[in-house]
Symmetry: C2
Subunit: 151 residues, 2 copies
DNA sequence: CTCCTATTGTTCGATATCGCACTATATATG
DNA sequence: CATATATAGTGCGATATCGAACAATAGGAG
């Protein structure tokens, strides 16, 4: 017997994901210094994980936001001294984003500040269930990303 | 053998959820009329599923947004004629939100417009995996909601 | 009833998001 | 080379989000 690909199932999954996203964002932003919000942290985290020197346009694509939003987010990080923007020596149109020590420290201390709360949550919520859903979420994320209108 | 509740696991799950949220929101908003965005649709959907006459403060809590954001969202829906706000006869401080026919129609037609795309995605992505993760997401959502600082 | 406190909703100001239009640079075409 | 097209980033305006402060109402204590 085959399943009938009920579109409502996906709809409901998106519904739950939307609420979880908001709750987890609040958790993160409670740890960030005044004036910084989740997108700022995401950029710092991305630069640590993928390496310094990324181009703003590529980060905008990675986060699925318009490049004007990335310009704005980077301006906030630069004003706070968390990153510096330098011209790209290989392409006069673009720039490169480099972390400062202050940026690196903020990312690390934010994760450290978050760890106790996340540990507590992970202790009380069954880790097996998280381990079960994580690969599916990753697969779904990649799938949806690829399914976007390639306009 | 017990698991060691790695906080990074939850962190990574939140990461994936954040990206999926953005992609699915784009999917939805592509179907909404000019000037309406996801929160507007969420309100219409909530009123259909939970019934007319809800109080704005309760909807703000259900969506985990500040009440000022709910005021703004409802103002937009009211201006478009999708809902009407009436004083609550049982409490002079609060209001009640009622759907109009136009609001009901918009909710239904948006879901109808979304169905083909969701069907296609559900056909190409294994429904079993969605069915597997949905109860866990629901449980996680309820858990996080309850774990919020009851400040 | 009077006072005190809690709750609902709004206004206001600061910041965020994002589409559109523009500049500067790069690249392809001839 | 000259021109045309594409790409990276920014300025601007419209709308969204959200915290602080406020007004109106509710409800309990005395």
């Amino acid at each position: 017997m085959t399943h009938d690909s009920d579109p409502m199932l996906l709809f409901e999954v998106f519904n739950e994901i939307g609420i979880i996203e908001q709750l987890s964002r609040d958790l993160l932003e409670a740890q960030l210094p005044e004036g910084l919000i989740a997108p700022h942290f995401s950029v710092l985290n991305h630069l640590i994980r993928r390496g310094d020197g990324a181009l703003p346009i590529n980060m905008a694509r990675a986060f699925q936001v318009p490049k004007t939003s990335m310009t704005h987010t980077l301006k906030g990080l630069e004003k706070g001294g968390y990153v510096v923007l330098k011209p790209n020596p290989e392409d006069g149109r673009s720039k490169q984003v480099w972390l400062t020590d202050k940026g690196r420290m903020l990312r690390d201390s934010t994760i450290a500040a978050l760890a106790p709360e996340l540990s507590r949550l992970t202790r009380e919520f069954e880790s097996e269930k998280l381990m079960d859903i994580k690969p599916v979420l990753t697969e779904l994320r990649i799938f949806l990303d690829a399914a976007r209108d390639p306009k």
